[in-house]
Symmetry: C2
């Protein structure tokens, strides 16, 4: 397979993969393009490579920067801005996890904590079951939170280290 074809397929598949996880297809595609670009590229490069509009590129780049996955690069003597993505996949993964944890997991756990406080009769079957389900999800969320938090803050890179040996 030729490099150009492989790149294209990677970008396209990464975009499709993203949509299955609640991530805008174009945002994932731009990220993929930046991942496989050796040097920083401009908005015009992205527009051309992915055949999308300037506005679309601009908004999605902004989001990617907000996710901490892409960096704006100013090259002296150049008028245009350049963009580049973190290439270390371990760092990319921990960054994505950190953000999703903050944006989605933590707020959900906070909400569940509130829903536990039911005024009605605690002996009622319905109330019991409801509280049990909420507690269960909260507990699971809390554990995921802890494991992922440890992963994100780990000194050792679990990727290269032996942390995950036990699951072989």
């Amino acid at each position: 397979m030729k490099l150009a074809d492989a790149k294209q397929q990677f970008i396209s598949s990464w975009g499709a993969f993203g949509t299955h996880w609640g991530i805008n297809r174009t945002m994932a595609q731009i990220h993929a393009l930046l991942l496989v670009s050796v040097s920083p590229i401009t908005q015009d490069d992205i527009m051309e490579q992915l055949s999308i509009s300037r506005g679309n590129v601009n908004m999605n780049i902004r989001d990617l920067i907000g996710w901490g996955l892409v960096e704006r690069i100013i090259i002296t003597g150049e008028r245009k801005e350049f963009f580049t993505a973190e290439k270390d996949i371990w760092k990319v993964a921990t960054q994505i996890i950190k953000e999703r944890k903050k944006r989605e997991l933590d707020p959900m756990i906070r909400l569940l904590a509130q829903l536990e406080n039911i005024d009605d009769d605690k002996k009622d079957k319905d109330v019991k079951q409801f509280i049990e389900v909420i507690r269960g999800i909260k507990k699971l969320g809390g554990q995921a939170d802890k494991v992922l938090g440890a992963m994100v803050n780990a000194e050792e890179n679990w990727f290269t280290g032996s942390m995950l040996k036990m699951f072989k």
Copy 2:
């Protein structure tokens, strides 16, 4: 907070949460409703509680059964079908992980394996970087696959056991 209000908020939030993870809002809501229902309920019950059409309920219930999260219950003497959801959150989580792994993670890893085979000059900077990124993602995916596979097949329930103690 009253039970009825808490239930409503749970259903609504769970639906919103689902959409952030690529899951149909209504499917997540039906699942939430079944989670907090003590006894099996019918399509009509779901239609009424969530104010949605029969077709919508039917299709999403079918998907939920496909995900292994909901069961069809035949009650002797009743003409209508009833539905119920697994309430053990650990089982729910492993089932969801098992399915997403099968549907999304495994195919992606297979694809990446193909993209590694580049015909062009392996010494070329672009080729090198591309292969490195693909390898990195494949490795990460493989590790996630292993850890999640272990979690799904674990004899011990990590939820109640001490498996996750080390992350406290």
